[in-house]
Amino acid sequence: MKTPRYRSRTCLRAGLVLASPVALLLLWWAAAGLGWVRPIILPSPDAVLASFLDMLRHGYSGVPLWTHLAASAGRVGVAFATGAVLGVALGLWRARSGVADALLLVPAEVLRPIPPLGLVPLFILWFGIGELSKVLLILLSVLLIMMVSAQAGAAGASLDAIRAARSLGAGRLQVFRHVILPSALPQIMTGLRVAMGAALSILVASELLGGDKGLGFIVLDAANFFRTPYVFAGVLLIGAFGMAADRLFAWLGRRIVHWQRQADT
């Protein structure tokens, strides 16, 4: 019905969405091209593109780029999925059970602000330097963020909805599944977006753990040798990956939490 207006609005939005990165890119090009900054610090977009293409063709440190990408994506994927599920479950449980909340309070909240770097030695000790440590390091931070989000989100459940469910015969678990969880979804979806950002930015720290594959490794290794174009290419790859994941979650959020969606006035 409102299709034509809708389509032109979508086009307008797409244009605006692209405007800022294009403007930044132009600025970058100008800065690099006009020699405002030394290329050793801020390599030109061409140089970054060239290193990207080089990695695409020849890999990095003898490993194909796809293998690096797959290694990182695998780690982040497993850690994120597991961490999110556990975090949401624990968070909702804490919201409903005073005992669970009290028991988990101190360990969770003391752990959350601790820098990954501080945990690396312990993780090496307990989980070695293999995949397990890397995955657990990411998983932990995802879990802790999701726990906060889910618990806070559960507070948004309307008391009357919970009461209605109980007097319609819902057991504890059913109230959980059918009332608390949906009510917490707005905050859970936000939590997922924030946690994905955190997971990716911990990737580098986790791949400090004796890694020789992954985007984090590329960034770290290139930074050590001050191969700035490669650092930029790696960082932008991480950024692009994160942006894609974020858009996916934002879109999913709007679909899943459809009852919060509002007429665009």
Partner: protein, 314 residues
């Protein structure tokens, strides 16, 4: 059946022989199943050694001393590389620094707790300055070039490749390890338990390493190609880098002389071990350790080398 061994190394340093030995299959020829585990820097390897996640480690002498002084059961098997000019002090020509004495009041980048910190204190002492007379800016080596370019520091003291980059940007070299009368280098460190329990593995490793050293003398450019590829530099650029380092790789016989680790029983008087003890004094003075190790001899174990030289495996 190949014997397993896990080797830690620093991605941020130059590892010519290790990359050659690994890529040219020298370890496999000795029936060793080597797993190379990269680390960004030496200190990061200490927990891995402590947790027995790696067996051998190539690192600077500095983290080895901090680890040992903190009670880690590790030992130095040999000095892999001695650099006369790898670590350098480069200054901004615009800062008006002509001599070490001119450092007074300047901002100098160094990595606190590393050999560069130690070098800096030596340089200051030579110029009759104290630590308080300058501003030490604590930076990781990779962060020094941007800090230099941004005019945030007047001088930087670190090693290749970052010191080379700073010099390329116009910094003038004011001092080197040699000019300061110091030594520094990379060493092979092992878990004491590993050396004790896997003597055969250690012997095979030494065999492979000796072959690598010999090959390097014969065809340096060919041996360097693997490391040059890893750090993505052309053959010429990499040769220049090595030349700037003035790196030498003491042979096994040379290890047991007073210039390096000393003859059996005389380790404490050897030059490199005196250098290690100097680091110990530095750590104590900097309050990074409570007390010096009771016995420095525990840090040096040349017995595998001795055995190798006495009866080299076929």
């Amino acid at each position: 059946q190949p014997l397993p061994v896990r080797i830690g190394y620093q991605t941020g340093d130059i590892n010519v022989l290790l990359m050659y030995a690994a890529n040219a299959k020298l370890f496999e020829a000795q029936q060793l199943a080597v797993t190379l585990v990269p680390f960004p820097a030496g200190p990061a390897m200490l927990p891995a050694l402590a947790a027995s996640e790696i067996d051998l480690a190539w690192m600077g002498e500095f983290p080895a001393v901090t680890g040992y002084s903190n009670g880690m059961p590790i030992e130095i098997l040999m000095v892999e590389r001695l650099d006369a000019t790898n670590v350098r002090l480069a200054v901004n020509p615009a800062a008006g620094i002509q001599s070490l004495a001119d450092l007074k009041g300047k901002r100098i980048a160094a990595s606190v707790g590393s050999t560069s910190h130690n070098h800096l204190l030596h340089a200051l002492k030579q110029a009759g300055l104290r630590q308080e007379d300058v501003t030490i800016v604590n930076l990781a080596p990779a962060n020094m070039p941007p800090a230099y370019l941004a005019g945030q520091v007047d001088a930087a003291l670190t090693w290749e490749p970052n010191i080379g980059l700073i010099e390329q940007e116009g910094a003038r070299t004011l001092a080197t390890t040699r000019s300061l009368g110091m030594i520094t280098g990379g060493i092979w460190v092992s878990r004491q338990a590993f050396t004790r329990e896997q003597p055969e593995t250690v012997q095979r490793f030494l065999k492979a390493w000796r072959l690598a050293q010999q090959a390097y003398q014969g065809a340096p450019r060919e041996v360097r190609q693997y490391e040059a590829a890893r750090v993505k530099q052309s053959g010429d650029a990499f040769d220049a880098l090595i030349a700037r380092q003035t790196a030498q790789h003491p042979g096994f016989e040379a290890q047991l002389t007073a210039e390096v680790l000393g003859a059996p029983g005389q380790e404490l008087d050897a030059r490199f071990v005196r250098h290690l003890r100097g680091i110990g004094d530095f750590l104590l003075a900097e309050k990074r350790i409570q007390a010096l190790p009771a016995d420095w001899r525990g840090l040096i174990n040349t017995r595998p080398l001795q055995q190798f030289l006495a009866e080299p495996p076929r």
